[in-house]
C-alpha cells in the first residue's frame, strides 16, 4: 500500500456528482493508485475508512470542507496530483464559442480570454492612451493605430512597457506583422528570414512587398509609430524591436526603415546594431550614412533596403517583376512637347511621397510638397500645384472627415483630372497600395480617372507603383493589368517608378 496525502479545502462546497468526476480524473493521473475527492461529511468519512483512504487530516475536516486524499508511491507525483485535483475543483469548462465574441472592455475580454497576445487599438486619439495602458497593466502587447496621442503619454506607455518586457507599437503605427498575423494596413507577405522594424508605415509595406516579390519573406514587421524616433521618445520601440529580432533565431537579418531621425537617434541605433550579431540595413529616407561595416549598412532607397536585406539572406539575384518595357517608356518620352517637363505626384503613402522628393532632389529637382523635404518648398494650400509638385494625400488636411486615400480615391481622382489640364505637366506619378486595409479594387478607381484624363490630354504619361503581393486580397496581377490597359507604366517599387518618371520628364 502506498503513502496517502491529503489536501483539505475549507468551506468549499461542491456537489457529489461534480466531485466524482474529479475523483475519476485524478485516479487516472500519473503515480496515483487511488483517490478520494469528497466533502467531509460523516457518511463520506465512513466511505473513506472502508476504502482505506482515511487520514488524520481528513478526520479533522467538517461536512463543509472539501477533502482530497490521494494514495501513491512517489511523493512528487502524488503532490502533483493533489495540485491537479485542486485545479479541477476550480476549473471552468470553456463555453462554446459564439461566432463574434465581443466584450465591452479590455478587462472583461482578457478575463475571459486570457490567451490574447496583443491588443490592437484604433479608437480616437484622446482615448487611446488609457486603453493602451490598460492592456499593458494586463500584460498584453499593444499596437496603437490611433494618432494624436500626446508625446509625453507615448513616453509613459513605452517606458512602462519596457519594465514589463512588453512591446508597444505606435501610437500612429499603421502597419505590423507579428506572429504571421497582419495588423492595420499590411500586405500578405511570405515567411522568410528578414525582420523589419520601421517608423514609416508605407515604407514597411513597400519593403516587405518587395522582399516577397523577390522570392523571400519576413519573420516579423514591427511598426514603431511615426513619433518613436523623435528625440522626445528616443526610439524606445525601435531599440526594443531590434533586440527582439536579434534574439529571435529565425530572423537572419534586420531592416530598419524610418524618415530621417536626429543624428543622436541614428548613432544610438547604430550602437544597438553593433552590439548584436546579425546583419542589418538602415534606410532613413533622405539620410544616407556611411556603411558601418559589411554587415551594418545604410540603404539609399526603399528598394535598396529590400535588395541589401535580400542579399544578406539569399544566394540568388534580387529580381523584381517587370511589367513595363523600356521601349514603351521611350515612346512616351518621344511624344512629349518641348514645353512638358513637370512631374506631379499624388500619393497615398507618406513615406513614398517623401522618398520621391529625395530621389528627385538627387537629380537636382526640388519638388513642392505639403510635406516637403526642404521647408522652402512648402506648397502652402493643398488644392493647386506648381512646377514639380508631389502631394501626400494621406496628410491630415486631406483626411479630415473622410477615409484615407488608400481606401477612398475621390480626392485623388479629382486632383488627377485637374493636373492634366496643366499643359506643362509631363508625368503624373502615383502609388497604389494593395493589401488589407486598402480599397478592394484601387486600380479600377484610378483607371476610370485616367481614361477621362486621356480625353483631356493625350500627351501626358502616367507612372505608378503598385505596392503589394500576389497573395493580397486584391490580387496583384489583375491590379497591374487594369492599369496597363489604360496605358499606365507600372512598377513594383516606388523607387523605380520615381526613377522612370524622372527619365521621361528629363529636361
Amino acid at each position: 500500500m502506498g503513502k496517502k496525502f491529503t489536501l483539505v479545502l475549507n468551506n468549499e462546497y461542491r456537489d457529489s456528482v461534480f466531485l466524482m468526476r474529479i475523483n475519476e480524473l485524478v485516479e487516472k493521473a500519473d503515480g496515483v493508485t487511488r483517490a478520494a475527492v469528497m466533502m467531509g461529511t460523516e457518511a463520506n468519512k465512513d466511505l473513506m475508512k472502508e476504502a482505506g483512504l482515511y487520514t488524520e487530516e481528513a478526520s479533522k475536516a467538517g461536512p463543509n470542507d472539501l477533502v482530497i486524499v490521494i494514495e501513491g508511491e512517489d511523493e512528487d507525483l502524488v503532490k502533483k496530483a493533489l495540485e491537479y485535483a485542486k485545479k479541477l475543483v476550480y476549473k471552468t469548462e470553456k463555453e462554446e464559442k459564439e461566432t463574434a465574441q465581443s466584450y465591452l472592455s479590455i478587462r472583461s475580454a482578457v478575463s475571459f480570454e486570457s490567451d490574447i497576445d496583443l491588443v490592437l487599438i484604433s479608437t480616437p486619439g484622446e482615448y487611446a492612451y488609457r486603453e493602451a495602458m490598460r492592456a499593458l497593466l494586463l500584460n498584453k502587447h499593444v499596437m496603437v493605430f490611433s494618432s494624436n496621442v500626446p508625446l509625453e503619454k507615448e513616453k509613459v506607455l513605452k517606458n512602462y512597457a519596457k519594465t514589463k518586457n512588453l512591446l508597444v507599437m505606435g501610437p500612429d503605427a499603421g502597419t505590423a506583422i507579428i506572429g504571421s498575423v497582419g495588423l492595420g494596413f499590411f500586405n500578405v507577405v511570405k515567411e522568410g528570414p528578414v525582420g523589419v522594424v520601421g517608423a514609416a508605415g508605407t515604407g514597411i509595406q513597400v519593403v516587405t512587398s518587395l522582399l516577397d516579390l523577390a522570392g523571400t519573406g519576413i519573420t516579423a514587421a514591427i511598426g514603431t509609430g511615426s513619433n518613436d524616433v523623435k528625440e522626445d521618445i528616443g526610439g524606445i520601440t525601435l531599440k526594443t524591436g531590434i533586440n527582439m529580432l536579434s534574439s529571435h533565431p529565425k530572423t537572419k537579418a534586420i531592416t530598419i526603415i524610418s524618415k530621417p531621425p536626429s543624428e543622436k537617434i541614428v548613432n544610438e541605433t547604430v550602437d544597438v546594431l553593433s552590439k548584436i550579431n546579425k546583419p542589418a540595413v538602415m534606410n532613413f529616407i533622405g539620410f544616407k550614412g556611411k556603411d558601418i561595416s559589411n554587415t551594418i549598412k545604410f540603404a539609399d532607397t526603399l528598394e535598396d533596403a529590400a535588395r541589401i536585406s535580400f542579399n544578406f539572406t539569399n544566394r540568388g539575384e534580387f529580381k523584381l517583376p517587370e511589367w513595363t518595357s523600356e521601349t514603351e517608356v521611350k515612346e512616351a518620352k518621344d511624344k512629349l512637347t518641348s514645353k512638358q517637363y513637370y512631374i506631379r505626384g499624388l500619393f497615398s503613402g507618406g513615406t513614398i511621397c517623401y522618398e520621391t522628393q529625395y530621389i528627385m532632389s538627387k537629380k537636382g529637382i526640388k519638388a513642392y510638397s505639403n510635406s516637403p523635404l526642404d521647408k522652402d518648398y512648402e506648397i502652402g494650400g493643398f488644392d493647386s500645384s506648381r512646377k514639380d509638385t508631389v502631394i501626400d494625400m494621406g496628410a491630415e488636411e486631406f483626411v479630415r472627415g473622410i477615409p484615407h486615400p488608400m481606401i477612398d480615391f475621390r480626392f485623388r481622382k479629382e486632383r488627377l483630372l485637374k493636373e492634366v489640364e496643366d499643359k506643362e505637366v509631363a508625368v503624373i506619378l502615383f502609388d497604389i497600395v494593395l493589401g488589407y486595409g486598402a480599397n478592394m479594387n484601387p486600380a479600377s478607381e484610378m483607371a476610370d480617372a485616367i481614361k477621362k484624363a486621356r480625353s483631356l490630354n493625350d500627351k501626358v504619361s502616367f507612372v505608378a507603383s503598385v505596392i503589394g503581393t500576389e497573395n493580397d486580397p486584391q490580387g496583384l496581377k489583375t491590379q497591374v493589368e487594369q492599369l496597363k490597359d489604360v496605358g499606365v507604366f507600372v512598377y513594383p517599387s516606388s523607387t523605380r517608378a520615381t526613377q522612370v518618371a524622372l527619365e521621361i520628364a528629363k529636361r
Binding site: N10, N11, E12, Y13, R14, D15, F18, N64, Y90, T92, E93, K94, E95, A100, S102, Y103, L104, S105, I106, S108, A109, V110, S111, E113, D115, I116, D117, L118, V119, L120, S122, T123, P124, E126, R130, M133, R134, L137, K140, F145, S146, N165, L167, I178, G179, S180, V181, G182, L183, G184, V188, T219, A220, M244, S247, H248, K250, Y436, G437, P473
Partner: protein
C-alpha cells in the same frame, strides 16, 4: 519576448471594426471590444478614469479582492440590538440605505419606523412618532454605518434580535435582523397589529429557541450554504428557498425548544421552513462581512455598498472610506401581486443590494432561472444580465459556481472604473414595497442602480488623487 513571433498570435481589437473583420478574413484568431467612449465621452470623467489606470490601483484592488474572497462569515450568536450596536438605542433606529431625514422618508420607511416605535412602546401612531422626531427624541442612523444590514426598510430598533456574523479570518462583524416573511410585514412598511404581534413573537419565542439551537450547533459557516444554494437554483436575493432549507437542515436538529411548549417549537420550525426568504438576512450579513473586510483600502475602486432607503440610492467605495454617494432611487420594473398595479410601487429600497455587491442576486441571475420568471424576464435574459455584470466586476469567484455557465464563478467585486467605462450600472433583483406607509409588499422586480451615484464617486476620486 520574441516568442510572440513564433506562433499565430491572438488579437483583441479595440476600435475600428474593419480591423476586426480583416483579422477574421486573414484567418487570425481575434476577439473584439464593442468600443464606446468611456465615461459617456465626458472629458472630466475620462481624465479621472485615465488617472486611475495605474499599477497602484491594480495593487489596491488586488488587496481588496484578496480581502473579500478570503473573508469567512460565520454565524456565531444572536443578541438584541441594544446589546451589540451602541449606535442603536431607545432614541435611535437603524434603517436601510444612505442617511435620510424623516421629512424625506418614503411611505414604506415611515411605516416601518412607526411600526418599530409601536413595537418598542415609544408611540401609538404616526402622529406620536412625528412628535418624537420633532422633539428630537427619535433619530435615525443608516444600518451600513453601524455594521448592520436589513432588507427593504431595514428598520432595526433596540429590542429586535440580531444575528451576529463574524469573519473567522478577520476581526469584522456584521449584524442583521430576522426575516418576517412576505405580505404585511414591517420591512415593507406595514405596521398593523399582526405585524407588531409577529415581531413580538419573534423576540419572545423564536429568538430564545434559535439562540439555544445555535449554541448547541456551534458557529455556523455561511459560505458553504451560499455556495451550495447557488448550485440549487437560488440567486440568494429574491430566491432563498434552498439556502433557507439548508440552514434549517443545519440548525433544525439542534432545536430543542429551550423550555417552550411543543406547539411553539413546531411553529418556530415551520416559520423558518415556510419563509423562503428566511436565509436572505443571513446571506446579507455574510455579504456585509465580506465587503466590510475589503473597505477602506487606499486606492481601491471596489464598490463596497449598494443600498437604498426608498428615497435615495447610495453607494460606498473602498478607497473613499465612509462617504456615501447618493442619487434619487429609481422605481423597479415590477411584476405585481394580484390587486396591485403600476403606480403603487415605491422607489427602490433596502440594504439587500449587498447581495449584488457580492455577486449574487441579479449578478447571479444565470444561476436562478426560476427568478428570471419571477422578475418577468426570460431565462436567456437572466444569462444576459449575468454576462453583462462580468463587464463591471473584477473577478469570477469560483467559490460560487454557476452550474448553467459551466461552473463559471459569479461576477464579483464591482469596479467603479468599469461602471463608468462601459456606462453599465449594476442590476439588482428586489422586492417592491407599496409607496404608502402601512401597505406592505406589492411584488418583485428588477432595477438598475442610478449612474449618478457612480459619477459622483468617480469625481470625488478625481479630487482625492488630484486628477481634477
Amino acid at each position: 519576448m520574441s516568442s510572440i513571433f513564433e506562433k499565430k498570435i491572438k488579437v483583441l481589437n479595440v476600435g475600428l471594426d474593419s480591423f476586426y473583420q480583416d483579422l477574421i478574413k486573414e484567418g487570425a484568431e481575434a476577439v473584439k471590444v464593442e468600443w464606446k467612449p468611456p465615461g459617456g465621452g465626458v472629458p472630466r470623467l475620462l481624465k479621472v478614469l485615465e488617472a486611475l489606470e495605474t499599477e497602484e490601483t491594480e495593487e489596491a484592488n488586488k488587496k481588496a479582492i484578496e480581502a473579500f474572497t478570503s473573508a469567512d462569515p460565520v454565524l456565531v450568536d444572536i443578541k438584541l440590538a441594544k446589546e451589540v450596536i451602541p449606535g442603536i438605542n431607545s432614541r435611535t433606529f437603524g434603517h436601510a440605505g444612505p442617511p435620510v431625514s424623516w421629512e424625506r422618508m418614503s411611505g414604506p420607511l415611515r411605516g416601518a419606523v412607526i411600526g418599530a416605535a409601536i413595537y418598542e412602546g415609544l408611540a401609538k401612531d404616526e402622529k406620536e412618532v412625528e412628535e418624537l422626531v420633532r422633539s428630537e427624541k427619535l433619530g435615525f442612523v443608516p444600518n451600513h454605518d453601524v455594521s448592520a444590514v436589513g432588507p427593504m426598510a431595514g428598520v432595526i430598533s433596540e429590542n429586535m434580535p440580531l444575528f451576529i456574523v463574524k469573519n473567522s479570518k478577520g476581526t469584522n462583524v456584521a449584524y442583521t435582523n430576522f426575516n418576517e416573511g412576505v405580505g404585511k410585514v414591517l420591512r415593507y412598511g406595514a405596521y398593523s397589529k399582526e405585524v407588531i404581534d409577529r415581531l413580538k413573537w419573534m423576540k419572545e419565542v423564536l429568538f430564545p429557541i434559535l439562540k439555544e439551537a445555535l449554541k448547541s450547533h456551534g458557529p455556523l459557516p455561511l459560505r458553504p450554504i451560499m455556495s451550495q444554494a447557488l448550485q440549487m437554483g437560488d440567486e440568494l436575493h429574491t430566491r432563498n428557498n434552498a439556502s433557507t432549507l439548508l440552514f434549517l437542515g443545519e440548525i433544525g436538529p439542534y432545536i430543542e425548544g429551550n423550555g417552550f411548549a411543543r406547539s411553539e417549537v413546531s411553529k418556530s420550525y415551520e416559520f423558518i421552513a415556510k419563509n423562503q426568504l428566511f436565509f436572505l438576512n443571513l446571506a446579507m450579513a455574510a455579504g456585509k462581512v465580506m465587503m466590510d473586510s475589503a473597505s477602506n483600502i487606499k486606492g481601491s475602486t471596489l464598490v463596497t455598498v449598494l443600498s437604498r432607503n426608498g428615497t435615495d440610492f447610495g453607494i460606498k467605495v473602498s478607497g473613499l472610506g465612509k462617504e456615501w454617494f447618493v442619487a434619487p432611487a429609481p422605481v423597479p420594473k415590477t411584476l405585481f401581486f394580484p390587486g396591485f398595479k403600476e403606480g403603487d410601487a415605491n422607489p427602490d429600497i433596502g440594504d439587500s443590494a449587498i447581495m449584488e455587491t457580492n455577486g449574487f442576486g441579479a449578478f447571479a441571475s444565470a444561476a436562478s432561472p426560476a427568478v428570471a420568471q419571477v422578475t418577468g424576464a426570460s431565462v436567456s435574459e437572466a444569462l444576459r444580465i449575468t454576462r453583462l455584470m462580468y463587464e463591471i466586476t473584477m473577478i469570477k469567484d469560483k467559490s460560487f459556481p454557476i452550474p448553467y455557465m459551466n461552473f463559471e464563478g459569479v461576477p464579483r467585486g464591482i469596479d467603479l472604473r468599469l461602471i463608468l467605462d462601459t456606462s453599465t450600472a449594476p442590476y439588482i433583483n428586489t422586492g417592491v414595497a407599496h409607496k404608502l406607509a402601512g401597505m406592505g409588499t406589492v411584488g418583485f422586480g428588477i432595477v438598475q442602480a442610478p449612474m449618478l451615484c457612480f459619477t459622483k464617486a468617480l469625481e470625488r476620486y478625481g479630487e482625492v488623487i488630484g486628477a481634477l
